[in-house]
């Protein structure tokens, strides 16, 4: 029954999620700049606030004040819609992420499937941005993004299926419950799945070493070359929200979710998620970018067969 209580509940959850996304994205942008700086023995932002912690706020204000330029010959509607297609799915994916025992917007019984379905829409936004900009670099970036994201979705889903087979459920909350005794990552079969998941998830969110859709040295900025002001900021927020989501899914599926001793569940969840994000940042600022053909070859000739094999072994063990 749809009641007023339900409605207020929905609105408060929505506001909480949006607030969390905004703060988390801003924090992650600052953190990424700090991590990259320390890895390269620099200091990073230091001026705005304590160790530059308000740098993202300053950047956001700057982006809000900037002119929104539309390139000549752009496909108006497609160009205008693209940033929303990137941000909205990543916000929607928050619906089934378990932050704590009761702290989950909606515990769907098809949680994993829902997240996969929703996050696949992102590629549409990226391609729309590439197509709508009327710029050859944007288009190349969009095409590369489409090819890469669709290719890496295969090993990603196969590795997630392995977890689902062991947990015997698609609900995110029940997958966490199934890890009461030990984390999934400690199981050899699922550890391989976890490694494949992290690798293909890095490619899913277009982060280095798989950042060919926005390779600066080749494509200016890839699909978001022609965007400025708040639309560019939306791409940025989408990128960092996606980073949070893949790490949150990794936490839920492989690292025991919110389960942990002493501290409350949500603290454990955030500690684990941000640790995974740190590892992804560490990888980004260490490895060089892959070539396009190497990237596709890695997905189809290496990750996909291995995840199939892993899936078959999991099935054989479970029989």
């Amino acid at each position: 029954m749809f009641t007023l209580l339900n409605l207020t509940n929905m609105i408060t959850t929505g506001i909480a999620v949006l607030g969390f996304i905004a703060i988390s994205a801003m924090f992650l942008i600052w953190w990424e700049r700090k991590v990259s700086a320390h890895i390269q023995t620099r200091l990073g932002p230091m001026r705005v606030g304590w160790h530059g912690i308000l740098q993202s706020v300053a950047d956001a204000i700057k982006l809000l004040l900037k002119e929104d330029i539309r390139p000549a010959g752009a496909d108006k509607l497609v160009w205008w819609l693209a940033p929303f297609f990137v941000v909205v799915p990543s916000v929607m994916a928050f619906a089934t992420i378990p932050f704590g025992k009761t702290l989950i917007p909606k515990d769907l019984n098809i949680g994993v499937l829902y997240i996969l379905a929703v996050s696949s829409v992102c590629v549409l936004g990226v391609f729309m941005a590439g197509w709508g900009s009327n710029n050859k670099y944007s288009l190349l970036g969009g095409i590369r993004a489409a090819a890469q994201i669709i290719s890496y979705e295969v090993p990603l889903i196969l590795s997630m299926i392995t977890v689902v087979m062991y947990a015997n459920t698609l609900s995110m909350q029940k997958i966490v419950e199934s890890q009461s005794h030990s984390w999934n990552i400690l199981h050899p079969n699922l550890a391989l799945a976890g490694l494949i998941y992290i690798t293909s998830a890095t490619a899913e969110v277009n982060r280095a070493p798989f950042d060919i859709p926005e390779a600066e040295s080749e494509l200016v900025a890839g699909f978001h070359t022609e965007y400025s002001g708040m639309k560019f900021a939306m791409f940025f927020i989408g990128e960092y929200t996606n980073l949070f989501i893949i790490s949150a899914i990794a936490t839920t599926l492989f690292f025991g979710g919110w389960k942990g001793p002493l501290l409350p569940g949500v603290i454990w969840f955030l500690i684990k998620t941000y640790s995974i994000i740190y590892i992804l940042m560490w990888i980004r600022w260490t490895f060089p970018r892959l070539r396009v053909d190497q990237l596709m070859g890695f997905a189809w000739k290496f990750l996909t067969p291995i995840s199939f094999l892993n899936l078959a072994i999991a099935g054989w063990l479970l029989l």
Partner: protein, 146 residues
């Protein structure tokens, strides 16, 4: 088969090696200086602005002749003991190319180059300097002791 397996293993090992190197960088101190707050001391042979010890100058005009851009200008007067004393000595930073030839030719080491490198000003007048004035560079930001 064996070779490709070997390739994969060495590849993974090299990736881990790279990760260790970048992780260790977290614990080394940053090479960045927070510029207006922290300034780097200039090296001994740094060629900053031209400076003068007026008491050492013998008004030989060697520096004025050596200067390729004619940024130095000097006049002198003679004392009763027939000794030359510098009357005026001006330095035009606009023209100076910081070659250091004046410093090289000076027989008494009166003219030298100091360590000042933040040499932008808001007024053009400030670029014309009277080298005989002992307080000529007091307003300029000093990065290391005079």
């Amino acid at each position: 088969m064996l070779r490709s397996m070997n390739n994969i293993i060495t590849g993974i090992l090299s990736l881990i090696k790279g990760l260790i190197i970048t992780f260790n960088n977290n614990f080394t101190s940053a090479t960045t200086l927070q510029y207006p707050d922290e300034k780097k001391a200039m090296t001994e042979r740094f060629r900053g602005l031209i400076d003068l010890y007026p008491e050492k100058c013998v008004a030989c005009y060697q520096c004025v002749k050596a200067c390729p851009t004619a940024c130095l200008a000097m006049t002198h007067k003679q004392t009763d003991e027939k000794k030359k004393i510098t009357n005026t000595f001006t330095y035009n930073i606009e023209l100076c190319c910081f070659c250091g030839l004046c410093q090289q030719v000076c027989p008494t080491g009166a003219i030298y180059m100091n360590k000042i490198y933040e040499i932008t000003t808001y007024e053009r007048n400030k670029l014309y300097i009277n080298l005989l004035n002992p307080e000529k560079y007091d307003e300029w930001p000093h990065t290391s002791p005079k």
